[in-house]
């Protein structure tokens, strides 16, 4: 990824171009996603009725989101009754400041972190490092991305774009380890480094996949066990969670956990699904003395306020819509320039970060609907992309476009003038190549990747008339 000044949409176009032309990288991504698809199909087929399960998941999320205030309060009450603390953050800064203040107050020296996209969203690591706190990402993929100094490529598979030799080079350079092309050995290198981090850290930061209202718990899904260690060993646990992660009842997880696993990685159940309801309780051997949940709004309530698009908040971040997206496969994760990549990222980012600056993402879709089809909670993702397009256009009509349509209407209403115009249309084709060399070619965006359509020398109308004339004369000839 290159660094850019300029607008998100310029960065997007530039990176999309680079990745689309990077054959080997696309091949690596395609291979990884091929493995995913096989596993997912196999596991999905074991469901008695996936579609009904999906509708039930959609219904439960609908219930949770449409009574979110009640469930947030219920969680808070249950969770604090067991010694947990809840902090409500309106935006990134407030969340960061709270965690920094907490670290300072408790004399924290080192921090270990398990995967949390909310952390990426509020740029938590940068803030912690700036204040002098060492923070280590413990998920293998995130750790690799942290070493590489790059954001995650995919919010479930952070380093899926890297080949093993690139990871080996990275470890060799950053950790001084010997080169290897065995994924197993590479994993063991990270294992050795990270085990020290858990034992030494005095604060563990996590995200969460679900907030459970009726028991006051959070639920974390992972494969590696790094989150279990992150929230098990340090004396303080901070969980940074978007308020939309709600489910009403603990029992609901009996549906969501298998669906998340199937859609996310093609497993029946992910390696570790753990629910945490408070800090260490009386009589328990270990666990943190303090457990802070930081609820993050950061414009989620803006999306919540739109009944038409509210269900975009049902997302359980399984990543399936990225995995099946033809655009994602070709432009890659970094091109989006967002915390949440792929189709769902394109839906929600304009709400979180400004519609006009991010509306180009809604255009980056073939509207094939593969995302909608695969989504385990029934979000009509590609319809939301259309809604975003409509809303963006309504808010700020494209300059010049209105004028163009007016001219068209003017022409269409005057047949004589229209006929005259078609006579001159082929001239456009002759003049267009001359424009190619003009510095501010107004047609550049169109013609860069497409052929300029050539108007035929004879219009349809003329051809039709000639055709009819020929037919009549033939008919006359035949009758003779």
């Amino acid at each position: 990824m290159t660094t850019h000044a300029g607008l998100p949409r310029h960065q997007f176009q530039q990176d999309a171009n680079l990745t689309a032309n990077d054959g080997p990288r696309r091949e690596a991504v395609r291979k990884a996603l091929g493995n995913y698809q096989t596993a997912r199909n196999r596991t999905g087929a074991t469901f008695t009725d996936w579609k009904s399960a999906r509708n039930a998941a959609a219904t439960i999320k609908h219930e949770a989101l449409n009574h979110l205030d009640r469930y947030l309060e219920e969680f808070e009450q249950k969770f604090t009754a067991r010694g947990g603390k809840v902090f409500w953050a309106s935006d990134s800064k407030q969340a960061r400041d709270y965690i920094l203040k907490l670290a300072k107050e408790k004399g924290v020296r080192s921090i270990v972190k398990s995967k949390a996209m909310t952390g990426e969203e509020i740029h938590l690591n940068e803030a912690l490092l700036e204040e002098g706190y060492g923070v280590v990402e413990s998920d293998l993929g995130e750790y690799i991305q942290q070493l590489k100094g790059e954001p995650p490529y995919h919010f479930v598979f952070p380093c899926m774009h890297l080949r093993r030799d690139e990871i080996s080079d990275l470890f060799h350079r950053e950790l001084g380890t010997a080169q290897t092309n065995s994924p197993e050995e590479l994993t063991m290198i990270a294992r050795r480094v990270l085990r020290r981090a858990y034992v030494e850290a005095d604060m563990g930061i996590s995200g969460a996949n679900f907030i459970v209202a009726d028991t006051g718990m959070i639920s974390i899904t992972e494969n590696e066990g790094n989150a279990r260690l992150t929230v098990g060993l340090p004396k303080i646990h901070v969980a940074l969670i978007g308020i939309e992660k709600m489910v009403p009842r603990l029992g609901d997880l009996a549906l969501f956990l298998p669906m998340l696993a199937t859609a996310g990685t093609g497993q029946h159940l992910t390696g570790y699904n753990s629910m945490y309801g408070g800090p260490r309780q009386p009589g328990e051997t270990d666990g943190p003395e303090e457990f802070h949940v930081v609820f993050l709004d950061n414009h989620r309530t803006r999306l919540l306020a739109d009944p038409e698009q509210r269900d975009a908040l049902h997302c359980i971040r399984c990543g399936a819509c990225l995995n099946v997206c033809p655009i994602f496969k070709n432009i890659g994760g970094h091109t989006y320039g967002t915390t949440y990549q792929g189709p769902i990222g394109s839906v929600i980012t304009p709400h979180f970060r400004g519609l006009q600056d991010w509306k180009h993402l809604s255009g980056a879709s073939s509207l094939c609907g593969a995302c909608t089809e695969t989504c385990p909670v029934g979000i009509d993702i590609h319809h939301h992309l259309l809604h975003n397009r409509r809303n963006a256009a309504a808010q700020k009509p494209a300059s010049g476009e209105g004028l163009l349509w007016k001219a068209f209407v003017f022409l269409m209403k005057r047949p004589a003038l229209y006929r005259l115009a078609t006579k001159f249309a082929p001239l456009g084709g002759l003049l267009q190549p001359l424009l190619e060399h003009v510095p501010f070619n107004p047609l550049h965006n169109w013609t860069e990747t497409r052929e300029f359509p050539q108007a035929p020398l004879r219009s349809f109308r003329d051809q039709f008339r000639a055709h009819q004339a020929a037919k009549t004369s033939q008919a006359k000839g035949g009758a003779r």
Binding site: A56, N66, F87, T215, A254, Y272, N273, M275, A305
Partner: protein
């Protein structure tokens, strides 16, 4: 400490304001007669398990194999001890970590004498636990539908004994096997009526990652091996 609760009122206010208009339900669940689908329904849609105890057991065994968990049905504690002695020898174990509990205490009696044991107590030395070759725990439940072992901070010696040492041994009874997650949650709710443990964890196979080229590697951070000793 006075870090406060932040923008509690403002956020709840924004949520309430946002929800003044209810969103349409685009994909209603077939079985909800106007209400929410109940957990009793999940079973009809999820992967089927089969009614009898034998069917459940067979599925659990099959999934354990795919997950690369090592399942050993044992006739009695003596047989469990033999298997454990074999593992200890094979892995060249020096120290194993344990907690207190009926099954664990019985097993501790029959461990190979040369094996050192670390009994976890509050305030234990993390480094010492990290250096152990294996962690032996009890569990709450086994789940047939998913091949999972359910541990809690009450049943399995705290939060990390079941995940820090490189080999996790679970000692369980056949009667602990439940059908699916729905039954597991119901059973946990009944067992912990007076308060849940601070952690409930469904462990499904040894620690794993696919982060490098989506190729499966076991033992990413947690145990490389998971052995289940199943008593009648």
């Amino acid at each position: 400490m006075s870090l406060g609760t932040g923008d509690r009122t403002a956020i709840l206010g924004r949520v309430k304001e946002a929800l003044r208009i209810e969103a349409p339900l685009k994909h209603p669940a077939e079985r909800s007669a106007g209400g929410e689908p109940t957990t009793a329904h999940f079973r009809e849609w999820l992967p089927p398990v089969g009614g009898s105890l034998d069917e459940r057991f067979e599925l659990f065994a099959r999934l354990s194999e795919t997950l690369k968990s090592e399942l050993h049905p044992c006739a009695d504690m003596a047989e469990a001890a033999v298997i454990l002695a074999g593992l200890a020898k094979e892995g060249n174990w020096k120290t194993v970590a344990l907690h207190r509990g009926d099954l664990i205490d019985a097993l501790a009696e029959v461990l190979p004498p040369e094996l050192e044991t670390m009994r976890l107590k509050p305030g234990y030395d993390k480094d010492q636990l990290e250096a152990c070759d294996a962690g032996i725990t009890e569990c709450d439940l086994l789940v047939a539908q998913t091949g999972s072992v359910c541990v809690t901070s009450k049943s399995a010696g705290g939060r990390v004994l079941s995940v820090l040492p490189p080999h996790h041994i679970v000692i369980a009874r056949r009667s602990q096997l439940v059908t699916d997650l729905t039954e597991a949650y119901a059973s946990l709710a009944a067992k912990y009526r007076d308060g849940y443990p601070s952690m409930i964890s469904f462990i499904t196979g040894p620690s794993r990652t696919g982060d490098i080229e989506r190729i499966l590697v076991l033992g990413a951070h947690g145990p490389k091996r998971l052995t289940i000793l199943l008593l009648p």
